[in-house]
């Protein structure tokens, strides 16, 4: 399942909802991405996430389906926020549930690596010197490329 929303999410509530009635789950891995206050040398006051409504959901669904093709997942959830977020706020949640931990850990890493390079979101950072679009990192491309096959 995937969701794109402006509002915050409750990790505990999302995990409970994901595993409700699913007694075959042996473990759930959770990745939570937060707004970091330091970007390079800059102290951030906030970050604004823009996205492409429609394409974002489509890309996230494709990535989620790919994870289910590759690993025996019982359930998964991606929640990604947009709008203006301040340091310490939650940006993204990836939950992966499986009978065994290997699949849950690997699929979780795959999902966050792939969504970083495929889901159409753009971050703009606000600091004392103004606001600037974040440039894509080649390290993110390298992380995503590990899962190409």
């Amino acid at each position: 399942m995937i969701r794109v929303q402006r509002q915050d999410f409750d990790v505990g509530a999302e995990m409970a909802a994901l595993s409700e009635g699913e007694t075959g789950i042996g473990g759930i891995v959770a990745f939570v991405g937060l707004v970091r206050e330091i970007a390079g040398e800059q102290q951030l006051s906030a970050m604004t996430l823009e996205h492409y409504p429609g394409m974002t959901e489509r890309q996230l669904e494709k990535i989620d389906e790919e994870a289910h093709r590759r690993w025996p997942l019982t359930a998964s959830l991606i929640v990604h926020r947009y709008g203006r977020l301040e340091p310490g706020e939650q940006i993204v949640l990836v939950l992966t549930a499986s009978a065994h931990r290997d699949a849950a850990f690997d699929a979780n890493r795959f999902l966050i690596d792939w969504l970083k390079t495929k889901a159409p979101f753009w971050k703009s950072e606000e600091s004392a010197s103004g606001s600037d679009w974040v440039e894509a990192q080649s390290s993110d491309d390298a992380a995503a490329a590990r899962w190409e096959k």
Binding site: E50, Y52, R58, H80, K116, K118, F121, W133, A136
Partner: protein, 83 residues
């Protein structure tokens, strides 16, 4: 045909979305970009470095050689930075 711009491409072109009627000799994404560049300095600035521009046709990633046949929505944006 609907054309969308995001992030700094939206800022440089000065628009997030517009409807365009293309001349018949514009057949692919590369041709569309050349045509858009002629619309003003903001457009020329948006498309000055195509290595920093990604393209989606009907919400799927495509290359510059993608024909425009049957396309209804074309989006231009920088490499993505979510997560």
């Amino acid at each position: 045909m609907k054309v969308l711009y995001f992030a700094w491409l939206r800022e440089r072109t000065g628009t997030g979305e517009e409807d365009v009627s293309l001349p018949p000799d514009i057949v692919d994404v590369a041709g569309l970009i050349e045509w858009l560049k002629g619309r003003g300095p903001g457009y020329a600035a948006a498309f000055e470095d195509l290595t920093a521009v990604r393209v989606a046709v009907d919400q799927e990633y495509v290359g510059l050689d993608r024909p425009l046949d049957g396309a209804s929505e074309i989006a231009f944006f920088p490499p993505v930075t979510g997560g």
